[in-house]
C-alpha cells in the first residue's frame, strides 16, 4: 500500500485518477482504518487530504458556511459562528463517536462512508447542504441528498473528491435540530435519526425540511413531513401529522440494531421532538 499526502485538491484528484488499483481518500480515517483492520478493504493507495489547507478550514462566506472535507468534528464543535447558525448540523457532527473519534472524524467522511445510519447526513439534508466536488473533469456541486445512492455507494465518479460542504446563509427566524436514538448514551450507531430545519414568518412555519436516517437504504428527505408542519404553529395536530408522515416514509430493515416496527415508530417520535427544538430555536411560540 502507498500513502500520499498531497497539498492541493488537484494533486489529490490526479493521484486518485492515476491509480490502477484500489484507491481511497483518507480524511479522519475513523471508518477507513476500521475496515482495513478487519480486512474488508485492502487499499493500494491512500490519499490523505489533511495536508490540503483549504480542506482543513471552516469559512464564513457571503452565501453561508464552508466546512472543509478534512475538518475534524472537534473543530466543528468549537466554531462559535457555525454553532450559532446551524446548531442541528453541529450537534449531529458532535454525536459521531467519542471525544477520541471527534479528534479525527469528518462530516464528509461520514457522508462518503455512505452508511444509512450516518448522523450528519439527515442534519445536512434538512439544512439544504451541498457538496462541492472536485475531479479530473473539473468541479461540480451536488445536493447532499444526492451524494449517497445506496448503502456504501455514492454518486462520486472515480477520482472525484468532495472538497467541502456548503451550508446556506441562515435566514432570520429559522432553526434546525437533529436527534438520534441509540440504546446507550454514547458510542453507538443511530437506530433512527431525524433532522428538522424550519423557517418562521410571523410565528408560522413558512418553510421546512425534514430528513430521516437509518430507516431506509439512504437518508430520506421526507417532503410529506415538511408539508405536515408548513403553515402551522407546530400545534399538536401538525406534530401528529409530522410523526405519521415520517413513520409512513420509513422502509427500514430488521438488524442487530433495531426492528422494522421499532424504527418506524421511533422515527415519528424523534421527528416530533426535533421539530419542537428547531421551532424553539427559530423563536417560535406554540
Amino acid at each position: 500500500m502507498r500513502y500520499e499526502a498531497p497539498t492541493t485538491s488537484k494533486a489529490a484528484a490526479e493521484l486518485l485518477a492515476a491509480e490502477k488499483g484500489k484507491a481511497y481518500v483518507l480524511a479522519g480515517g475513523t471508518d477507513l482504518l476500521v475496515r482495513m483492520k478487519s480486512g474488508m478493504l485492502e487499499p493500494d493507495l491512500l490519499v490523505d487530504i489533511k495536508q490540503i489547507a483549504k480542506m482543513r478550514e471552516i469559512s464564513k462566506t457571503a452565501s453561508g458556511f464552508r466546512i472543509g472535507a478534512a475538518v475534524p468534528g472537534v473543530e466543528i464543535g468549537e466554531h462559535k459562528a457555525l454553532g450559532k447558525a446551524w446548531p442541528g448540523v453541529v450537534e449531529a457532527a458532535q454525536l459521531i463517536g467519542s471525544d477520541q473519534v471527534q479528534g479525527r472524524c469528518t462530516i464528509v467522511g461520514n457522508l462518503c462512508n455512505a452508511s444509512p445510519a450516518a448522523d450528519t447526513v439527515p442534519a445536512l439534508i434538512a439544512a439544504g447542504a451541498k457538496a462541492a466536488i472536485v475531479g479530473p473533469k473539473g468541479r461540480r456541486t451536488l445536493a447532499v441528498e444526492k451524494v449517497v445512492t445506496g448503502p456504501g455507494q455514492t454518486a462520486l465518479a472515480k477520482a472525484e473528491i468532495i472538497e467541502y460542504i456548503s451550508l446556506p446563509k441562515r435566514a432570520p427566524k429559522s432553526g434546525d435540530a437533529y436527534l438520534r436514538f441509540i440504546p446507550r448514551t454514547e458510542m453507538d450507531i443511530a437506530v433512527v435519526g431525524a433532522g428538522v430545519n424550519l423557517t418562521l414568518a410571523r410565528g408560522i412555519i413558512k418553510s421546512a425540511r425534514v430528513s430521516l436516517g437509518a430507516v431506509a437504504p439512504t437518508a430520506l428527505l421526507v417532503a410529506d413531513a415538511a408539508k405536515a408542519i408548513i403553515g402551522s404553529k407546530l400545534d399538536d395536530e401538525a406534530l401528529d401529522k409530522l410523526a405519521a408522515a415520517c413513520s409512513a416514509a420509513c422502509k427500514p430493515i430488521n438488524d442487530k440494531r433495531g426492528t422494522i416496527e421499532y424504527r418506524t415508530r421511533v422515527a415519528g417520535v424523534l421527528a416530533r421532538r426535533a421539530a419542537l427544538i428547531a421551532f424553539e430555536r427559530a423563536g417560535g411560540k406554540r
Binding site: K37, S38, F181, T185, E186, M187, D188, I189, G258, L270
Partner: protein
C-alpha cells in the same frame, strides 16, 4: 495438612485500612506489562484462520502454499496436534478440539489453522493462502431449538447424563441435574397464589478490555516458557503440557499483569497453539487475539431459557418453588448449567423446592465461566417471579423477601444447611437504606433483588522471604485481577507486625511456587490470604527461634509482638526487643536465610449474599432506559481493603446492568455472530451509569481467621433482576427477556395495551 484457620475475632492494626496498591505506579505510568507487552529476541507473529461457518465439515485443508510463502516459519492444523496425549480423557479432547477444529468446524470463529511468520503482514498473507473446502452442515444456536427432537445433533457421543434410564440416542442435551427437597406438589396445594413464568436471557461476554495474548517460547527438547494473561498460570501450564505431551515442570508459565478476566481467562484457547507453533518453528511466537476473535472464539457465558413457579400463602410464606433452567453451553458439554439449579432459590428458606438444569450443546463458542457463572440468569428468573408473587399478594417485595429469607440453620435449596449467613442482614439494610425511601419521579421505577454465590477455596501455595534489611517478599500464586496484592500485603503486614510498606507482593511463576488453583470462585483474597496468614505465622516461628538463639534462651521464652521478638519474664528484663530487621540482619550466624511458606487446600469458603436496589427512568416513547440510582449491599465477611471490596461491588453491578439492558450476542439465521465488537456488543460506557453506592456488611466466615468471605462474584447476581424489576415497576409491564432492549420494552407496552 489442615490448618487451624478458625475465626478469632482479633483486633486489627492495618487490616481494613485503605492503603495504596503496590502496583499502582506501574499501572498509572504505563510500565505494567500485560499479555501483549512482552517481547523475545527473534519472535514471530502467530495468527489464526477461523471458520466462517456455524457448522461445517472440513473436506480439504491445504496449507502447502502458505508454508511456502517467504517469512512463514510454521503452519499448524489439527494434523499437527495428535490426540494421543489426551489419553482418552474426554474433557482434554474437547479442549484440544476447541483450540483447533478436528475435521469439523463447530461454530463461527472456530480455529482451523494457525501460522507463525516474521511479521503480521506476512502472517495475514499466509492465512489467505490456506485453502479450505467446507461442506456446510445444519446448525443450531438457540437453546430451546437445540433441545427439540428434530434439532441437528452436534456430537454423536453426547448422551444425556442424569436421566434414568440413560437415553440410547445421542442428543444436544449433555446433562440434566436436579436439586431440592420436600414435596413441591403438596406445597403448591397449600398455596393461595401461584405464579408461573418463563424467561430468556441473551448470551453475554465477560468483556475484559485486554484480549487474550501470550508469548510462547519452546525448545525442541520439550522445555519452554509461556508468558500469558491468565487467571491461572498453573492450570494453563498443566493443560498445555497435557495436550502437547510435555513435562509440566519443564514448562514455566508466568502470568503477566491481567487486563480483566471475570472467568474468561480460566481456559486455554490460543496458548497450546502458540506453543505448538513455537515448537515447530523453534522460535518464540507471540499471539494476540483481535477483539473480533475474542468475541467469536473465546468463552462467553450461556444464553438461557428458564421457567419458574412459586406458590405462597396469603400471609406471604412461600409454600413451594420450582425452576427449570436450560443453559446453552456452546460447542462442547460443560457443567456450568448445574449451578443454575443449585443457586436458583439459595436466598430463601423453602420447605418444598425443586430445581432442574439442562446443559445444552449448540453451534456457538464453548462457554466459559463468567463471574458467578450461571447464577445471574437463574436469579433474574426467580427474583422476577418473587416480585410478581409479592405484587399479587399485595405485600411489599422487600418484606416478602425478609419473610422468606434463609438464615443460619436453613436447609439450602442445593442441599446443605447454612451456617451464619448474610441474606437477612442485607435485606434489613436495604429496607432501612435511604435509597428505599427516596421519591420517584415520572416514568421512574424502583426494583430490588437478592443474589447468592458459593465462593471457593482450593489449592494454594504462598511464600514469604525475609530480606536482610527486614523488608519482606510475599510470593503468591493467585493472579491479581483486581488489587489482591494490596489485600495480601496488608494481611502479611498484619501478621508480622510490620508496616504495610515493608512488604512487597509478587505473583510467583509456576517454577517458583507449588501449584495454585486459578483466581476464580472469588478465592484470591480468601485462599491466598489464609495461606499468607499461615506462612507469616511460620515465618514468625523462625524469627522467634533466631531471637532465642541470639539471646541463648529457650524459644518458649520468646514471644512475637508488634514486629519484634520479646524475651518474656523478669529474668530477661535486660534484653531489648529484637525487631524483624535486626533479626534479618544476622541470619548468617543464627541459622541461615529466613522464609515461611505454606502449601494447603483453603477449604471452608463462606457463602455470600447481596441485596441490590435499582432506580430507572424509562422513556415510554422510545423504550430508552437509564439507571439513575443504584445501591449494592453485600456481606464481605471481613473487608481487608474496603476500596477494592467496593470496587468489586461496583464492577459486578455495572456488568450486570449492561447484561440487563444492552449486552447480547446476536446471531444471524446463518449462525454467524453479527456483533463481534465493542460498537454493537454494547457494554456500559461512563455516561450510562450513575455513582454506584455500596454498603459493606461484615458477617464473619467462621472458617477464616479474619472472617473473610469471597466478594468478587456475588455482585453480578442480583442486577439483572433488580433492573428488570425496576423497569417493570416503571412501565407497568413485566419484562421477561434480557437484555431489556428499547424495542422489547415498546413491544411489551404494545402487547399490554392491545
Amino acid at each position: 495438612m489442615k490448618q487451624d484457620t478458625n475465626f478469632t475475632n482479633q483486633e486489627f492494626r492495618v487490616i481494613g485500612t485503605r492503603v495504596k496498591r503496590p502496583d499502582g505506579i506501574d499501572k498509572v505510568t504505563g510500565r505494567a506489562r500485560y499479555g501483549a507487552d512482552a517481547t523475545a529476541p527473534g519472535q514471530l507473529v502467530g495468527m489464526f484462520l477461523r471458520s466462517p461457518h456455524a457448522h461445517a465439515r472440513i473436506k480439504k485443508l491445504d496449507v502447502s502454499r502458505a508454508e511456502k510463502l517467504q517469512g512463514v516459519k510454521a503452519v499448524i492444523t489439527s494434523a499437527d496436534l495428535p490426540d494421543e496425549h489426551c489419553g482418552g480423557d474426554r474433557e482434554l479432547l474437547n479442549i484440544l478440539e476447541n483450540c483447533m477444529a478436528r475435521g469439523r468446524a463447530l461454530y463461527d470463529g472456530h480455529a482451523v489453522a494457525a501460522v507463525a511468520a516474521v511479521d503480521a503482514t506476512t502472517a495475514k498473507k499466509a492465512l489467505k493462502l490456506i485453502k479450505i473446502d467446507y461442506e456446510k452442515l445444519p446448525h443450531v444456536t438457540d437453546v430451546d431449538e437445540a433441545m427439540q427432537a428434530d434439532a441437528p445433533v452436534i456430537h454423536d457421543w453426547v448422551y444425556t447424563v442424569g436421566v434414568e434410564p440413560q437415553p440410547n440416542k445421542p442428543s444436544n442435551v449433555s446433562m440434566r441435574a436436579q436439586f431440592g427437597h420436600g414435596d413441591v406438589e403438596a406445597g403448591f396445594k397449600e398455596a393461595d397464589v401461584i405464579i408461573e413464568k418463563s424467561y430468556k436471557t441473551g448470551q453475554t461476554h465477560q468483556g475484559y478490555i485486554e484480549p487474550h495474548a501470550c508469548l510462547a517460547n519452546m525448545s525442541p527438547d520439550g522445555s519452554g516458557e509461556l508468558w500469558v494473561t491468565t487467571q491461572g498460570h498453573f492450570a494453563y501450564r498443566n493443560t498445555c503440557a497435557q495436550i502437547l505431551g510435555l513435562n509440566m515442570a519443564k514448562l514455566k508459565v508466568t502470568s503477566s499483569e491481567i487486563g480483566g478476566g471475570f472467568g474468561g481467562k480460566t481456559h486455554v484457547w490460543i496458548e497450546p497453539i502458540a506453543l505448538a507453533l513455537s515448537r515447530k518453528a523453534n522460535r518464540p511466537v507471540k499471539v494476540v487475539m483481535s477483539r473480533e476473535e475474542v468475541f467469536r472464539a473465546s468463552g462467553p457465558t450461556s444464553s438461557t431459557s428458564i421457567d419458574v413457579k412459586i406458590g405462597a400463602t396469603k400471609d406471604g410464606r412461600i409454600t413451594a418453588a420450582t425452576s427449570e433452567c436450560r443453559y446453552q453451553g456452546g460447542a462442547f458439554p460443560g457443567t456450568w448449567a448445574l449451578i443454575g439449579a443449585m443457586t436458583s432459590f439459595a436466598p430463601y428458606d423453602l420447605k418444598n423446592v425443586q430445581t432442574v438444569s439442562y446443559d445444552v450443546v449448540c453451534n456457538r463458542p464453548k462457554v466459559a465461566a463468567y463471574r458467578a457463572p450461571s447464577a445471574p440468569m437463574a436469579a433474574f428468573a426467580v427474583e422476577s417471579t418473587v416480585d410478581l408473587v409479592a405484587q399479587e399478594l399485595g405485600i411489599d417485595p422487600i418484606d416478602f423477601r425478609i419473610l422468606n429469607a434463609a438464615k443460619e440453620g436453613t436447609q439450602s435449596s442445593y442441599g446443605p444447611v447454612y451456617g451464619p449467613i448474610g441474606i437477612g442482614p442485607t435485606l434489613d439494610a436495604a429496607k432501612s437504606h435511604p435509597h428505599m425511601k427516596a421519591k420517584l419521579g415520572k416514568n421512574q421505577g424502583r426494583g430490588m433483588a437478592c443474589g447468592f454465590w458459593f465462593n471457593f477455596g482450593g489449592q494454594t501455595s504462598t511464600t514469604i522471604n525475609v530480606a536482610a534489611d527486614g523488608t519482606v517478599n510475599l510470593s503468591v500464586g493467585t493472579v491479581d485481577v483486581g488489587g489482591s496484592r494490596a489485600s495480601l500485603s496488608l494481611i502479611c503486614a498484619e501478621e508480622l507486625g510490620i508496616p504495610y510498606e515493608q512488604v512487597k507482593a509478587h505473583i510467583g511463576d509456576t517454577a517458583a511456587l507449588a501449584h495454585n488453583d486459578m483466581t476464580d470462585g472469588s478465592r484470591g483474597t480468601f485462599a491466598s490470604g489464609m495461606a499468607t496468614i499461615v506462612a507469616a505465622r511460620r515465618t514468625i516461628e523462625v524469627l522467634k527461634q533466631r531471637a532465642a538463639t541470639a539471646w541463648e534462651i529457650p524459644v518458649e521464652e520468646v514471644e512475637w509482638k508488634d514486629g519484634c521478638a520479646h524475651a518474656v519474664g523478669e529474668a530477661h528484663a535486660d534484653k531489648a526487643p529484637l525487631s524483624l530487621a535486626e533479626i534479618a540482619a544476622n541470619t548468617e550466624n543464627t541459622g541461615g536465610p529466613i522464609a515461611g511458606h505454606n502449601e494447603f487446600v483453603a477449604d471452608g469458603a463462606g457463602v455470600s449474599f447481596a441485596s441490590h436496589i435499582c432506580d430507572v427512568e424509562v422513556d415510554p416513547e422510545t423504550g430508552s432506559t437509564r439507571v439513575i440510582r443504584y445501591t449494592v449491599i453485600q456481606d464481605a465477611g471481613k473487608a481487608i481493603h474496603p476500596d477494592y471490596v467496593e470496587g468489586q461491588f461496583q464492577g459486578g453491578a455495572a456488568q450486570g446492568i449492561g447484561w440487563a439492558l444492552n449486552e447480547e450476542y446476536i446471531y444471524g439465521d446463518d449462525g454467524r455472530l453479527q456483533n463481534p465488537g465493542f460498537l454493537d456488543y454494547r457494554i456500559p460506557v461512563c455516561s450510562d451509569l450513575p455513582f454506584i453506592d455500596t454498603q459493606i456488611l461484615e458477617i464473619p466466615n467462621p472458617n477464616h481467621p479474619y472472617g473473610v468471605r469471597g466478594v468478587g462474584e456475588t455482585s453480578i447476581v442480583p442486577p439483572l433482576a433488580a433492573v428488570a424489576n425496576a423497569v417493570s415497576n416503571a412501565v407497568g409491564v413485566r419484562m421477561t427477556q434480557v437484555p431489556i432492549s428499547p424495542p422489547r420494552i415498546l413491544a411489551a407496552l404494545d402487547a399490554e395495551s392491545a
